[in-house]
């Protein structure tokens, strides 16, 4: 007699697995919260709290879904512990260390564009902004973003499109 047994992935995370999860995902989760609040220290703290929560629940969590869980729980901690404050980003830009930039005037032009763009980003709708930054800074593919946020790839495409559209308008209006 053939017995067919359905095996689901078991719940539970070992300590060394947790370490790997932390090292592989901390940055992305911290960035995710930074995109929401523009405060790097707050982002670090909230990201850490999210991992602490995962540790507390390590016996109940399945490895397959831990990433999505991290995004959701860090988001919830964020919502629960802070009030929306004036958002402004302070991204650095690799280009400005580039000795190949032709002229000081061009460098200035780039810096102005960069500043305009960072300001415009802060004004994006949260959901569009997050997807845009996950793609540009974390360099995630649409598939990865969709999986992490628990939405469809089509939804990611739409949010990216909306972000670019809004940004384009904002950039062009000052010219």
């Amino acid at each position: 007699m053939l017995e067919i047994v359905n095996k689901e992935p078991e719940a539970g995370i070992e300590k060394d697995v947790f370490d790997t999860i932390f090292l592989e995902n901390f940055k992305a989760i911290r960035n995710f919260i930074y995109y929401k609040c523009g405060d790097i220290e707050m982002a670090e703290d909230i990201a850490q709290d999210a991992f602490l929560k995962v540790w507390e629940m390590k016996d109940k969590i399945k490895l397959v879904t831990v990433k999505q869980f991290l995004y959701t729980i860090s988001n919830n901690i964020f919502i629960n512990t802070m009030k929306q404050k004036q958002l402004s980003f302070k991204f650095g830009n690799r280009l400005f260390n580039d000795r190949h930039i032709e002229s000081p005037e061009f460098l200035l032009e780039l810096k102005e564009f960069d500043q305009k763009l960072q300001k415009a980003i802060a004004g994006l709708q949260d959901k569009n902004k997050i997807v845009f930054l996950m793609n540009r800074i974390d360099r995630m593919t649409y598939n990865e973003i969709a999986q992490n946020l628990g939405i469809s790839v089509k939804a990611v495409e739409k949010r990216m499109k909306n972000a670019l559209e809004h940004l384009r308008k904002k950039i062009e209006q000052k010219i």
Binding site: A11, D19, F22, L23, F26, R30, N31, Y34, D39, I40, E41, M42, E44, Q48, D49, F51, L52, K53, M57, K60, I61, F69, I73, N76, I77, I79, N80, T81, M82, K83, Q84, K85, K90, F91, G92, N93, R94, L95, D98, H100, I101, E102, S103, F106, E109, L110, D114, L117, I121, N135, R136, I137, R139, T141, M160, L164, L167, R168, I171, E172
Partner: protein, 292 residues
């Protein structure tokens, strides 16, 4: 559109001749995070916290503020398996309770109301049954359905009020989007809109002030052009009294009463309607028309 340009050799001409969109992608593709602690340092801190058995506290630092809108932290519920099937939350007279559903959504139940749902299955199938009145704040996610004897309400992520009692089915949308279904009718509500069941018809009101919705949570019971019988019913529920007012229940009332003081409540209803009340034995109230 998933370009990953690294512009180490960004020429002025190339940049200026690009479309705005390309410029945006180029510049943003070179962004770096601001200075922050290294992952190894954070990892060490993490290990320390775990070793000292430090449990998660939601700390309020001086830069953080508590948000007034309550989005409740409860994603934890996703990973717990509940053994019990149907769970019933009930309120009695003069009682109001607030609690969380397994998906993190928040419910406030008004007096003499009942909410039934399957605790174990709720995460996968957000369906519940309501008899009475409740205010919901639904976490974004899969479809959330409230079945009542009078009709059903369907939402995705939103806050709204549902009142389902004999002959009454009122739904008010405060935030998000709500779909109301009754018999063959269905209607989508946006913030500031509400529906009421009047004479077997679903009537929709728009342009309502959301601050005036679901005020019962604050102990204020507001009515807009409602038959007195409904007001008296609510007073009975809030104070656990019995009201006798034959003959005048069909008149219409607009106003509000408080659930803090029975006399004050009765006055705010009776005076504008030219009625008088008589409290017998502390919990029986006779209401009659005033003789001039």
């Amino acid at each position: 559109m998933e370009s990953e340009h690294r512009h180490n050799q960004l020429s002025k001409e190339e940049f200026e001749n690009s479309s705005t969109q390309k410029q945006i992608l180029d510049i943003s593709g070179n962004w770096e995070m601001p200075e922050s602690r290294s992952i190894d340092e954070m990892h060490k801190k993490m290990m320390q916290k775990i070793e000292t058995g430090e449990r998660l506290k939601i700390t309020t630092k001086k830069n953080y503020y508590w948000q007034m809108a309550a989005a409740v932290l409860a994603i934890v519920g996703l990973f717990f398996l509940f053994q019990s099937p149907e769970k019933t939350m009930e309120t009695r007279y003069a009682e109001s309770i607030q609690f969380e559903l397994p998906d993190g959504s928040s419910v406030t139940l008004n007096s003499k109301s009942e909410l039934v749902y399957n605790e174990k299955e709720f995460i996968n199938d957000r369906t519940l049954f309501l008899d009475g009145e409740a205010f919901f704040e639904v976490q974004k996610g899969s479809r959330f359905t409230i079945n009542t004897n009078m009709g059903s309400v369907e939402v995705l992520g939103t806050s709204f009020n549902v009142l389902s009692r004999t002959n009454q089915f009122d739904v008010a949308c405060l935030t998000g989007k709500v779909k109301v279904r009754i018999a063959n009718y269905s209607e989508v509500l946006y913030p500031g809109e509400k529906t009421e069941l009047k004479d077997q018809k679903l009537i929709k009101f728009i342009g309502q002030n959301t601050n005036q919705m679901a005020l019962w949570r604050k102990g204020i019971f507001r009515f807009d052009d409602q038959p007195l019988i409904y007001i008296f019913d609510e007073i009975e529920r809030q104070y656990q009294v019995k009201i006798e007012a034959s003959g005048i229940e069909k008149r219409f009332y607009t106003g509000a009463f408080t659930n803090k003081d029975l006399n004050e409540a009765l006055e705010t209803v009776c005076i504008p309607m030219n009625l008088k009340y008589d409290i017998r034995k502390g919990n029986k109230i006779i209401i009659t028309e005033k003789n001039n």
